[in-house]
Amino acid sequence: MREKILYVLGVAATLLLVRNLYVIFITLPDEQDQGAIYRIMFFHIPAWFVCFTAYFLAGVTSVLYLVKKQFKYDVFSVSAVEVGLAFTLIGLATGSIWARIIWGIWWTWDARLTWAFITCLLYAAYLMMRNMMDDASTRARFAAVVCTFAFTSVAITFKAIEWWRTQHPGPVLSLPGRSAGGTMDPEMEAALRLNYLALFVIAGVLIAVRMNQEKRLREVESLRRQVHAM
């Protein structure tokens, strides 16, 4: 039953994404200053929000794991980090393409970009570390501690535009239309909102699928131990 709901949600979100793609690429006109490239923002901004939300929730569930020692929290945090990392890569790639067109460079060592990159490396290391531990309980404990530390880096990335002068365009929601000094076009805002919805639901479905796998994985591990103990 749960799996069916997941599939339905996944299909619905994919259909919404297709519909959004049509609107973004066909219906909406070019933006007045940035031209065609502004469309990448419909993916760039939601992708970052998805990954920050995922990392934030992974941080919260890691602390919960340490307090309650229930595997469901560990399962959630590893799934969230994995999906979050995928969206981080989407965010970095789309940002990089946008920067090539608008700034003329693929990358700049700007505070926000740098910290986003560091965060990406950190969570990749977290996943690597998990691979190197055989006992599920130890793995969950250590991973939770690392995830708690890693969250400081997410917090810095988020705060980076306030702490340091940065080239990264500021407060995010007003971005696409603001370059002209006005507010965002309502049509664009609606498209952005719907794409938020699509990406968030897709991420949620991916996390849920990943959680199932992770649970099965632990069951297989323990069955294997049981066989060895016989």
């Binding site: 020692k69 595997f71 006992d135 599920a136 309980s137 632990r218 069951e219 591990e221 323990s222 131990r225 049981q226 060895h228 103990a229």
Partner: protein, 234 residues
């Protein structure tokens, strides 16, 4: 009188695999419990929980009337694990001094000297442990475990890999400790050595407590009696 060790419905999971299943065990003060069972039955896991190295996943453990990680419980427990637990780069006296300080032994220096004499390492006390023979290291490890006059001794396979001299020493140390009112819990395969001291036995079988109680008389003549009577006859 409160038991030295009270374990109530303790479970320990490694992942989803239960290494200990609902263990309930009271060990009265002043007794010597031999913890028996095959490899992988959970003896080490249980001893690690009693030593405060590990927390039970469910259930509760009281050591000498305190929580298993409390200062009061830890300060009065002595332990011998799989490794000998002494530092190769330090000298014999430095090793003992370190643990005397960590356990807040009064008259630390005097106690250290007494123990060095007792395990016959007083003449080499300033040599680095790395230069010691195996037997000397084992005797030093015994001194480390008994140094602070513990009320509870947790020994994981203490007779395995000891030489004759160390076995005799350990047996006399344990006999003295029991005479002084201490409680001893040891896991062991060397049934003959253990049965001379054990007043109680507990048998673990694949994480479950198959039997616990006073040592049956039959075991003196036939140490494997318990396995055959209560063990899983698969």
């Amino acid at each position: 009188m409160t038991p030295a060790v009270e374990v109530q419905k303790a479970w320990k999971y490694f992942g989803d695999y239960p290494a200990l299943r609902s263990i309930s065990l009271d060990v009265p003060a002043g007794t010597c419990l031999a913890l028996l069972g095959r490899n992988g039955a959970g003896k080490t896991t249980l001893l690690r929980i009693l030593s405060g190295l590990s927390n039970p996943s469910e259930g509760s453990v009281r050591i000498l009337g305190h929580g298993s990680r409390d200062y009061q419980a830890r300060a009065r427990t002595g332990m011998i694990g799989h490794g000998i637990g002494i530092y190769d780069e330090l000298s014999a006296a430095e090793n003992l001094r370190l643990f005397a300080r960590l356990f807040h032994v009064r008259d630390a220096e005097q106690t250290v000297q007494q123990w060095l004499t007792r395990v016959s390492l007083d003449r080499v006390q300033n040599s680095v442990v790395r230069e010691f023979s195996r037997g000397m290291r084992q005797r030093l490890a015994l001194a480390r475990a008994f140094l602070h006059g513990p009320s509870l001794l947790l020994l994981d396979e203490p007779f395995t890999s000891l030489d004759d001299r160390a076995i005799a020493l350990l047996q006399s140390l344990l006999a003295d400790a029991l005479k002084g009112g201490a409680t001893v819990i040891m896991s062991t395969h060397q049934l003959r050595e253990a049965m001379e001291l054990a007043t109680h036995v507990a048998l673990l079988d694949r994480g479950k407590l198959a039997h616990s109680g006073e040592r049956p008389v039959q075991m003196l003549a036939d140490p494997t009696w318990l396995y055959r009577t209560y063990g899983d006859s698969q």
